[in-house]
Structures are given as structure tokens and as C-alpha cells.
């Protein structure tokens, strides 16, 4: 594997701290993201996957833990100037292409906002040229620059969202359910575009989604989250072929596949967190079972899994 771009260390994001309704949305997760890879993050709604993405890019201030981007802590105290530097390197694509574009701005202004803030264009002409170039990159054309978001379909708006993210030449993009709101035939268009951009620009993605078949297709590695914890992290193929954590097994067994025969013989597994029967003082952490395949487990489970999968 290549070098680490991002290290997330024991990241915690709690809301309503100190009040009775405190929520531990993200509760101590640790993982690395390597340069040029796509890390998929899956889990049910409310498991903390979106919060993780938003905390990494500092839309939320972390309760505890560190996010190191090229060795520097994103959450350390920073001057506005230093933060701006980070914002250029890290960008985000949002889920809802209807809500994430300002309806009162033209497409050109939406895309160029980042260019303006960071002063990346010296003249008006250069700015517009950059906008046209970006529109072309994402499969739209020049004429679209002066229109407003409501004139576009969902797939096209998501392309505008991608162009906006690319405007500042980032290294790392967090895509928070970028295709969930789109039709099947359009989903494939957007996924292909994201893959093409990754090849051409060497981008690194954190791809957050609940559609597991699409995640498997786009990701190199996948992390599975459950109630604010990362329970399994493995290369995409490996996770699908050998899911080790019981929750991952139950999640995979619930995905309907477009094949009537397998559907007829489907056996769904349900997951009950009580089966682990963890004692109070047990040391729970991510442990490597086979090379690159991590599972959140206790010492005892670790021994069992090691025996089970060590052939």
C-alpha cells in the first residue's frame, strides 16, 4: 500500500455533552486512508457514518481524538489562514443535490465560489475559463454556466456538486451518499464519473453510503459501522467473501440481489448485539485477523476468529 493520507485516531463525536440526552454518534474510531484509494463506509442510518465524514472535514468539532491529514492535525487550533489551506485539500460532495446548491446563485458562481475564496483566478476571464473547463470535466457544457440549479435534473445537479468540489484541486473528497437520491441509470453515470476523475487526478475518496453493492463496486476497502463504532474493516472483496463480524454478516444477508433464484433461497441472518456477551472490563478493539482484515472484538473472540479464518 502507498503512504497514508489521513489518519483518524480514536475519533469521538458526542452531541449534547453533559446533558441526559447525550448521544455518542461516533464513539472512538480509528482508521487510516491511503493515498489514491477509495474507502467505503457503510452502516444503517444513525450509525454515525455521516457524522464521521463531517467531523473529518471539521464541519463539527470533534469531542475527542485526532484527524491527521498528511501528518497535521485538522482539529488543532488553527488560524483562518491555516484552515483555508486544509479546505483546499479536502472537499465534500453532499447527498441531496436539490438541497446542497444555492438556488439563488448561477452554476458559474456556485462552482467558482471556492476559486474566489482562495484567489485561484487572476482575472475574470481566467475564472470563467476554469468554470468552463470544470463543467466539461463533469460532462456538462459551457452553456450551463449561466443557468440556475432548478433548471437541472438530479444527476446533472450532482455533477455540479462534483465540479464545485473539484474547483480548488483537492486531494481528498468526502462523498456523503452521493448517489442515494438518484435513479439507477443515473447512479451508474455518476459513479463512472467519480472513477474517471480518480484515475485522472489521483484523488482519494471517502465514500459514505448504505447501498452496499455500489460501495463494493467503487471501494478498495470498506469499513462497516454499527452504533458509532467501526466493527469491521477489510478489502472490499474480502469483506464480501469472508464477513467476520456477526453484524456484517447480517447486513450482507439482507441486501436483495437482482437475481430471482438467489432471492428465493435467501436466508436472512439477524443480529443481536447481546450474543457477544462482553464482560464489563473486557478489552474491545480492532484486531487484525487476516492481513488487512480488522474486526472489532474481545480477546476471546480474537482467538476464535484467528483459528476459524487462518487457513
Amino acid at each position: 500500500m502507498s503512504e497514508k493520507l489521513l489518519e483518524i485516531k480514536n475519533l469521538k463525536q458526542h452531541f449534547n455533552v453533559g446533558r441526559p440526552n447525550m448521544i455518542k454518534a461516533v464513539d472512538g474510531i480509528t482508521f487510516d486512508i491511503y493515498k489514491g484509494e477509495t474507502l467505503g463506509l457503510v452502516g444503517e442510518s444513525g450509525c454515525g457514518k455521516s457524522t464521521t465524514g463531517r467531523t473529518i472535514i471539521r464541519l463539527y468539532d470533534a469531542t475527542d481524538g485526532q484527524v491527521l491529514f498528511e501528518g497535521e492535525d485538522v482539529h488543532g487550533k488553527k488560524s483562518a489562514k491555516e484552515l483555508k489551506k486544509f479546505n483546499r485539500k479536502m472537499q465534500m460532495i453532499f447527498q441531496d443535490p436539490y438541497a446542497s446548491l444555492n438556488p439563488r446563485m448561477t452554476v458559474a458562481d456556485i462552482i467558482a465560489e471556492g476559486i474566489d475564496i482562495h484567489g485561484l483566478a487572476k482575472s475574470k476571464k481566467e475564472r470563467m475559463e476554469r468554470v468552463y473547463e470544470l463543467l466539461e470535466t463533469v460532462g456538462l457544457n459551457k452553456e450551463h454556466a449561466n443557468r440556475y440549479p432548478h433548471e437541472f435534473s438530479g444527476g446533472q445537479r450532482q455533477r455540479i456538486g462534483i465540479a464545485r468540489a473539484l474547483a480548488v484541486d483537492p486531494d481528498f473528497i468526502i462523498a456523503d451518499e452521493p448517489i442515494s437520491a438518484l435513479d439507477v441509470s443515473i447512479q451508474a453515470q455518476v459513479v463512472n464519473l467519480m472513477k474517471k476523475l480518480q484515475r485522472e487526478k489521483g484523488l482519494t475518496y471517502l465514500f459514505i453510503a448504505h447501498d452496499l453493492s455500489m460501495v463494493k463496486y467503487i471501494s478498495d476497502r470498506i469499513g462497516v459501522m454499527y452504533f458509532g463504532k467501526l466493527v469491521e474493516l477489510a478489502p472490499a472483496e474480502d469483506l464480501y467473501n469472508n464477513p467476520m463480524h456477526l453484524y456484517t454478516q447480517s447486513l450482507l444477508s439482507a441486501i436483495p440481489l437482482p437475481d430471482p433464484e438467489t432471492e428465493r433461497s435467501r436466508r436472512r441472518k439477524s443480529y443481536d448485539p447481546a450474543v457477544h456477551n462482553y464482560a464489563e472490563n473486557e478489552n474491545l478493539e480492532m484486531r487484525e485477523i487476516t492481513p488487512g482484515h480488522f474486526v472489532y472484538c474481545s480477546d476471546k473472540e480474537y482467538e476464535q476468529l484467528k483459528v476459524q479464518y487462518s487457513n
Binding site: V184, Y217, P258, P260, S270
Partner: protein, 355 residues
């Protein structure tokens, strides 16, 4: 099998400032007792409008059923008045909506929302209706129904709300249940539970279901038969095996190929369908799919394709099945699925001329 519903050449249009939108353009299908028909298609393909027309829930005006018949047990419901429809809705046909967050009344207790239909349609007393509501909540798998019946929707989780919706829909033992994307807003694990529940209830109550979705995985799981809609028309229809193992329409190919399969290659691009669906204010001349179709023939831009029959139950609306059409190979991803099905006719038969 007995036919419960027959739709003949249904046409629905909407008057808008931009002109008349022909949302449904000549849809015909039958539904048998106890059967599940899945309707798939992109947003704007007319699948929801078709199903809402069956309950006459489309707002009129601007909506308008401009042609065709909807026969429920042989009785045409198109000319029925709003008063007459009230007797059918909830009793003969009921509906489960996509979004359980917005389709329940937030100011009414769940129990009252269930008993509303019972008191109206079956003249039950309040107490009987409440007991039945508790029974229904138990049936759809809600724990502690005696307590839940007196709670409000905001006290339910997404999956529980969808269960409550199903309970409301089933309250008066309808013969036809229309489920419009009932699991789209839910997580996969909850989705699997709801699908199992619906199948289980169907086998117990012998209800027919029209299931609208765009998730082909869900279709493979629930459907007996599948209708694929594009631009207001059914372009292919057949049993679930025929659609998944022997698809004939290039749009169906496109849908199947654009989904990544478990063993698909990561480095290869997904076979996306280029472009976007046509604007139905001015439907294009010829085949509406032609502009996005890499298999389009010259005639597709001139004349609408007729319907061809491939087996007793399998129909497709494409010129590719015409005896004079060139032989084409479906995309790689689709070829892998194709199997020889025993019921297929030797040659496709032309059943209906295009217009």
C-alpha cells in the same frame, strides 16, 4: 387464475403551463388474484401516476384520465364519482406510500388512524375497531400493541411507522394493495423485514399487490411478474424469471447492466444508460428510448415499435424482435444472465401495432 384488475390502454395527462404532459401513454396489464406485480422504471416514467390512477388519487385538474379503462372485478372505475370512490378506497384497494414520515397524520394516534377506515367501511363499533387495531399491529410485528395503539407517529421509528402504515392499509382486508416504493426510505435490514412481512401477509390474506420500485434487487425478491416502464409506456413485461434471465428490451438490458453485480470487475466502467429520460410534453417521434439507446435502428426514430410476444407471459415493445431486424448481442453483463427458458415461443409474435 382469476383476474382482479384489468387495465386497458390507460392514458393520463396533466395540464401545465408548459403544455400537456402525457404521463401515461397507453398502458395495459392484468393482475391476478394473490399475485405480486412489480412496476419498475426511472422517476418520471409514469409508474406512480399509473398506480395513483387506479385509486383515482391524481389531482384532477390538472390531472386527467384521457382514455382507457380500469376494470376492478370487471367494473370500470374511471367514470366513478368521488363519493363512489370513497367506498372503494381503503376497502377494495389500499395503498402504502413511500415516505412513512410524511404520510401518517402527526396529530392523530396510530390507533385512530387504523380504526378510521374500519369505522367508516365496516360499521364497527369503536371498541371492536380498537381491538382489531391492536390485532393488526400485532400482525405486522409491532411489540406491545396495547401500548403502541395509543401513541403518536413521532414515537415510532421509521421501520415501525412503515409497519403501522401496512396495518392501516390492511385494516379493511383490501383485495388489492398498491405499495409505492414502500422500502426506499428504509435501511436494508429493515427493508428485508418489511418485505418478508408483506410476503407473509399476502400468503395469509390472498391479497394482490402492485409493487412499485426502482430497486431491481427488491423486484427479484418480491415479484411474480414484472412490468418495465419507460416514458409512460410498458416496454417489457413478463414473469420475474423472463425479465431477469431472458430480457429482450434494450432498456431492460440497460437497467440490468447499470447495476454492479457481486462478481463484476472493479476496473471496468459500469454500463450506464447515457442521457436523461425524454420530456413528455412533446414525446419524441418513434421510440421514446431511441435517443438513449445504442441499439436503436433507423426505424426507431420514425415509427413507434409494436408489442411482440415472446412467450405466453412475456411481451416486449421493440423493433429488435421484428423478423427483419438485425441480430444484436446484449451487453456483456446481461449475456451472463441469459438462460434458455422452456416456455419461450420459437419466434416472437407481433401482437399489437405501434401507433
Amino acid at each position: 387464475m382469476e383476474k382482479l384488475l384489468e387495465i386497458k390502454n390507460l392514458e393520463v395527462s396533466f395540464q401545465t403551463y408548459g403544455g400537456t404532459v402525457k404521463a401515461v401513454r397507453g398502458v395495459s396489464f392484468d393482475l391476478h388474484k394473490g399475485e405480486t406485480l412489480a412496476i419498475v422504471g426511472e422517476s418520471g416514467s409514469g409508474k406512480s401516476v399509473t398506480s395513483q390512477s387506479i385509486m383515482k388519487l391524481i389531482p384532477m385538474p390538472p390531472g386527467h384520465i384521457s382514455g382507457g379503462q380500469i376494470l376492478l372485478n370487471g367494473d370500470d372505475i374511471v367514470p366513478k364519482t368521488e363519493k363512489q370512490m370513497e367506498k372503494i378506497r381503503g376497502k377494495e384497494i389500499s395503498m402504502i406510500f413511500q415516505d412513512p414520515m410524511t404520510s401518517l397524520n402527526p396529530t392523530m394516534k396510530i390507533g385512530n388512524q387504523i380504526t378510521e377506515g374500519l369505522i367508516k367501511h365496516q360499521n364497527m363499533s369503536k371498541q371492536d375497531a380498537k381491538n382489531r387495531a391492536i390485532e393488526l399491529l400485532r400482525l405486522v410485528g409491532i411489540p406491545m400493541p396495547e401500548k403502541r395503539v395509543n401513541q403518536y407517529p413521532h414515537e415510532f421509528s421509521g421501520g415501525m411507522r412503515q409497519r403501522a402504515m401496512i396495518a392501516i392499509a390492511l385494516a379493511a382486508n383490501p383485495k388489492l394493495l398498491i405499495a409505492d416504493e414502500p422500502t426506499t426510505a428504509l435501511d436494508v435490514t429493515i427493508q428485508a423485514q418489511i418485505l418478508e412481512l408483506m410476503k407473509d401477509l399476502q400468503s395469509k390474506m390472498d391479497t394482490s399487490i402492485i409493487f412499485i420500485t426502482h430497486d431491481l434487487g427488491v423486484v427479484a425478491n418480491v415479484a411474480d411478474r414484472v412490468a418495465v416502464m419507460y416514458a409512460g409506456q410498458i416496454v417489457e413485461m413478463g414473469t420475474v424469471d423472463e425479465i431477469f434471465y431472458d430480457p429482450r428490451h434494450p432498456y431492460t438490458w440497460g437497467l440490468l447492466a447499470s447495476m454492479p453485480s457481486v462478481d463484476s470487475d472493479h476496473s471496468a466502467d459500469l454500463a450506464a444508460i447515457p442521457g436523461t429520460p425524454p420530456d413528455l410534453t412533446n414525446p419524441p417521434k418513434g421510440d421514446a428510448f431511441a435517443a438513449r439507446n445504442s441499439y436503436a435502428l433507423a426505424i426507431d426514430f420514425e415509427e413507434e415499435p409494436p408489442m411482440f410476444q415472446i412467450s405466453e407471459t412475456h411481451f416486449a415493445k421493440t423493433w429488435l424482435l421484428h423478423p427483419d431486424a438485425p441480430k444484436v448481442e446484449p451487453p456483456e453483463a446481461v449475456k451472463k444472465r441469459i438462460r434458455q427458458l422452456s416456455s419461450t415461443f420459437e419466434k416472437p409474435v407481433l401482437v399489437k401495432e405501434g401507433k
